[in-house]
Subunit: 382 residues, 2 copies
Amino acid sequence: MSARSGRRSALEQDERWARVAWAYLVEPKSGPLMRLLSEQGAVEPLARLREGRYRSTPELSVRLGTLDLDGLAHAARRQGAHVLVPGDAGWPDPVGTHTAPPYCLFVRGEPELAALTGRSVALVGSRAASDYGLRVAADLGEGVAGRGWTVVSGAAFGIDAAAHRGALGVDGPTVAVLACGVDIAYPRAHEALLDEVARTGAVVSEVPVGSAPFRSRFLARNRIIAMLARATVVVEAGLRSGSLSTAREARDHHLPVGAVPGPVTSATSAGCHELVRDTDAVLVTDAAEVVELAAPIGEGLVDGAGRAAPRAPEDDLDETAYAVWSAVPLSRALGTDALAVAAGVDHARLLPALATLESLALVARDGEGWRKLRTEGAARPT
Amino acid sequence: MSARSGRRSALEQDERWARVAWAYLVEPKSGPLMRLLSEQGAVEPLARLREGRYRSTPELSVRLGTLDLDGLAHAARRQGAHVLVPGDAGWPDPVGTHTAPPYCLFVRGEPELAALTGRSVALVGSRAASDYGLRVAADLGEGVAGRGWTVVSGAAFGIDAAAHRGALGVDGPTVAVLACGVDIAYPRAHEALLDEVARTGAVVSEVPVGSAPFRSRFLARNRIIAMLARATVVVEAGLRSGSLSTAREARDHHLPVGAVPGPVTSATSAGCHELVRDTDAVLVTDAAEVVELAAPIGEGLVDGAGRAAPRAPEDDLDETAYAVWSAVPLSRALGTDALAVAAGVDHARLLPALATLESLALVARDGEGWRKLRTEGAARPT
């Protein structure tokens, strides 16, 4: 069966836009297409497809019949979305070394994706996250961004959104990789979040504008998250969380994987614990350890004399005070009962620790509870 | 300076009791004494000490002046305490392979200490434990004992006591190693607990009856805990917890070490996380994994087809129901709010899970809360 021709465009002669056409026609990770693109480029094979010289599938035929490259280019321009292809200065090379590289990348926001993700960490996890997971994701997002590293995630409910928001909270760069077109807010409730991400960083997808978030595209998307980051950290994940596939992608491509522990009684931490037990994933407990995991050897060491970051006020706290400081949220106030639980200290130690932190201007009373004050340390570079 | 003579006893001619005399005279881990005992036995050197033929320290002189071996024997007998020395059938050989073996061991309860600790796990941790740590320690104590393994710990407040009590709750054997004489309840509040431990298992010490719990004896005691167990698991520990020294003793003697993760926001889990990050300690999340760590290769495998234990009702639960079942305490009722937090599930999933568990007779309502019902599975052998 030969493919029917859709609306032709002069852009089909352009290598960049011919790749976009292929991204519209064929789902991600097609082995035959990847071979074709690497051996012959995008333009010539597309012309041959138009001429009916390839065997086609019914689905490909339908898509070729609806291909409107001018329309795609117009829609991308309207969204301020750039198209990156291999060889562009903005093309992040690591993603191209995946065994199934994307045909092209759509970028809404900062088009210099390579620069944006040169120092980056993927923070991923379950949609159905616990309060604990959400807090840790926000803290890590904030801490990683505060150290000058970009937070890459998937803009999903739960851990992803908390990680993005943590970075945005300190005006840090963050990258959201979508399973649909960069013009589509998915999930719908995250439209404003995605606009914010595009403003400070980038919203990225390998499927063209207008593409819906098919189920298979989520799995494919996870490899882009892993390959845009120097390390992938699973913040909270049940045993069947999709975020574990992101960790697998990173591991398969020899990128470091980290996992945040949690209560062993929590089903939403079981996937993280399994990663540490059954793979070479590294247990990480704070942003410094996350950055250490992602940083080139010798940079950003956490322990002892090698600590790269200048000392912040909180670095000099004793163990109890540091635990309490870590447990006090930045974005809202938390009462002493909840703080005692979160910090794992009893009230007899909690109250003196809060007094110490207050005297150092690290926390402040807020109504019935306590809030963290932003410190220089939160935004210090590594 | 020569040693003054105290009240002599015919028992000083007996190798076993001469060792007890040395345990009274010299603090644990004395290199010179260990060499003396292994080269010449206990009797002859003791006689020479009596004759003033060794250089003595003021402290040794004072102790020799107060040595009353008949009195020690009488006190031990009154407490039902046995004295074990190397070569006894009940002497647990592993402890003798420590670089600083005990001179002898006092045992209140089951004198066949070797048999009692042949399949054993040390569960240790902080005195200042969190509610989470206490619950996990009790669950692990119960689960390890329910699988026919002996729980070894130090009878301290916090994790130690919870682990002992978990084992006692399923009438499982448990061993408490003290830093003072086995006739002394330390801490005082644990007098009844220690009586229970002696009834089902053993209360053990290397220092004679009547000896007070000096600070240095706690550190020395930790090596006995480690060497009476096939593996040491730190359930919850801050960065400076003494339980980390027990883990170090196990590691130094090539015994497996496990650590239970917890919230990264909790100071009382930081020591466990550090063990996993910085040593070859294995992250463990439940009793099956603890037993797997301690069991000889090929026995008690947790995963897949190798699972050695017969299937229990709870083995067939889905992920959410299992998490909820794990979170329901055995010893007391817990309300749904606390259960949702502990299990890491929201109320929408919690209530159906509880209904399922109730229909399987795995949990029961108790007042406003829920309690776990003891199942066959809890006491099944591995």
